[in-house]
Amino acid sequence: MRITAGQSGYEKGAEGRVPSAGIGTDSTGLTAAAGATLSVLTAGRWVTTLATLALSSLLVVFACLQFGAEHIGLVEAVDILSRVLRDDRAGIESVGSTAVILLQVRLPRVLLGFMVGGCLAAVGVGLQALLRNPLADPYVLGISSGAALGAAVAILLGIGTSVLAISALPLFAFVGGLLSIIVVYRIAAAYGHLPVHTLLLAGVILNAIFSALIMFTVSMVDPARSFTITAWLMGTLTAPAYPALGVLAVYFLGGSLILFWQARPLNLLTLGEDSARSLGVEVETVKKIVFFTSALLTGAVVSVSGLIGFVGMVIPHAVRMIIGADHRLLLPASALVGGMFLIAADTVARTVLAPAEIPVGVVTALAGGPFFIYLLMYRKGGQAL
């Protein structure tokens, strides 16, 4: 009969009882006080934070639309876009070449950049939680190069006619990415989590193997195609056709939603698999969902933009420092910030040496690499960052 009291008596037991070494003796007051000040994630804070970030994203998009080989004023850009929304074709044609540049070149490229950055950051968040390492990143871990190898093989076999064709290319990239994720996870599972040195070592080795295979693939194709592959490998955003953008949007939104759906289990998985299990998480299921989705998103992103590094590591890391580790907020916030970061980086890539362009992968690596080194040197292996 003690049990009956025990099961429902948790609250009863706590009331009117003095915690023997507690800071307060009035447990009701303490509960109220602690309850009021517990800085848990509330729906209100979630909405405010994400609304602010979404608004900022819109501002960054408009800011970046202005820059390029030819400057387009903000007023003019807004004017053209509003005409598109009103379906005012005659009005758009009267604007002339500026409208073509904005609508056919700059806007699709900015949208592409936003989604690629968002996907990379979301994948980074998921991988970091599963591998229990805040430095994990699809590029550093060699998952992107696995996906790139898959895509290169597809090109070699002549399945993807052009680099941007959304055909079998993402599928091959997905398979390549999934293979590398499985290898990385096997290594991590042997340790319970992925220690930084193992993470780096696994990444170096996987990257070396995949680079060799990619180079082999490149040497097998005719010069024209090999140039295409090489340029794409460097990580470049080129203006895609709108249908291709639509397909990527499906990946981006679908994949992010799936990851987001696993936000609470991901929170618990950062404690380690045993602790997560003891708190009721079906660990194997969650792992499969997150790995599969990560490989899918990486495959989709790599097949359209090649190897863009460090976005998946730097962005979640920086966002976590500011808004905390709760994945319910961290995931969507990182996706938005990742998108903003990449279009800003791409704007730099296409303006610093205008009219020449540098690959955006160069910009993100130059920004992210030093940050990574800083973390390794000053944050003691990424523990409890």
Partner: protein
């Protein structure tokens, strides 16, 4: 699924012929008998008991605890929890009945203590049966977490990062998380390992009180034989993956039993207050000539 009826029978755990090897989980085959971490273990745990699991390093204590929490799957034998086959229970159903305080948790991400304790509410959120992880903590969740924090004396640390506090404070936060889980069974792996004397005593008293006031069934693994002797109703002494002796402290904490298992000389006398057995190492002999 109501556990009340089953509780009337009094059995929390019924463990039968439990065999477990880490080689199996790694995909290997067990070729030598000493590769079994547990070799056909039988154990009954009654509701409302405080059971101490003791034994030398590598005797299978932690493996047993992990098997009881369904973190590991046995190769042979069966575990029944409140009459249900543990192997067939969903993980969240286990987590609503059994909370585990692991040996050492190394936080890698900046969660606050409050967030950590609130994670104990997860299995209840999942009661709806969905796999999903989206939703907010209810006021009830927050209240229970705040109570658990007050109980474990970590309420003042609510906003500190779990990685920034001392290991003793972290351990208390993890126990608070287990309390927030509102389970009927509490499993603890070396709960006092990182604690100073004050907090060791504190935790033992809290466990005892939870047991007495709410009928919480407690199983704890400990290297501290004295603590186990003072605070446990029954002790399970493991040796090489088998139960060597099972019974009240008086029957287990005896020089002949301990010497057979630990292979060293020990002194056992009565605790000055409780009269329960107390273990002392022989120490060095001093030539006192006074």
């Amino acid at each position: 699924m109501s556990d009340r009826g089953i509780l009337e029978n009094g059995f929390v755990y019924q463990v039968r012929r439990l065999k477990f090897s880490y080689r199996h989980s790694a995909g290997g085959q067990v070729s030598r008998p000493d590769e079994w971490a547990l070799k056909g273990l039988d154990l009954d745990v009654m509701s409302g008991e405080v059971v101490g699991v003791i034994g030398p390093n590598g005797s299978g204590k932690t493996s047993l605890l992990k098997l009881l929490a369904k973190l590991l799957r046995p190769q042979e034998g069966a575990i029944h929890l409140f009459g249900y086959d543990l192997g067939e229970m969903p993980q969240d159903a286990v987590a609503r009945r059994v909370a585990l305080v692991p040996q050492d948790s190394q936080p890698m991400f900046p969660f606050t203590i409050a967030q950590t304790v609130l994670m104990g509410r997860f299995p209840h959120y999942r009661k709806g049966g969905s796999l999903g992880g989206f939703g907010w903590e209810s006021p009830q969740d927050i209240r229970l977490a705040a109570q658990a924090m007050a109980e474990m004396d970590v309420a003042h640390l609510a906003h500190r990062f779990i990685g920034d506090v001392s290991s003793g404070e972290r351990q208390r936060a993890i126990i608070a998380r287990a309390l927030a889980q509102q389970s009927l069974v509490l499993l603890l792996d070396e709960p006092t390992a990182f604690l100073d004397l004050n907090h060791q005593l504190e935790i033992c008293r809290i466990l005892r009180r939870l047991n007495e006031e709410r009928g919480l069934t407690v199983m704890l693994v400990s290297h501290d034989l004295n603590l186990a002797s003072q605070y446990c109703d029954r002790l399970v002494l493991l040796k090489d993956g088998e139960v060597f002796r099972l019974g009240p402290p008086e029957e287990v904490i005896r020089p002949d039993v301990l010497e057979a298992v630990y292979r060293c000389e020990v002194l056992v006398d009565g605790h000055p207050v409780s009269g329960l057995p107390r273990v002392t190492l022989p120490g060095r002999t001093l030539n006192v000539e006074r």
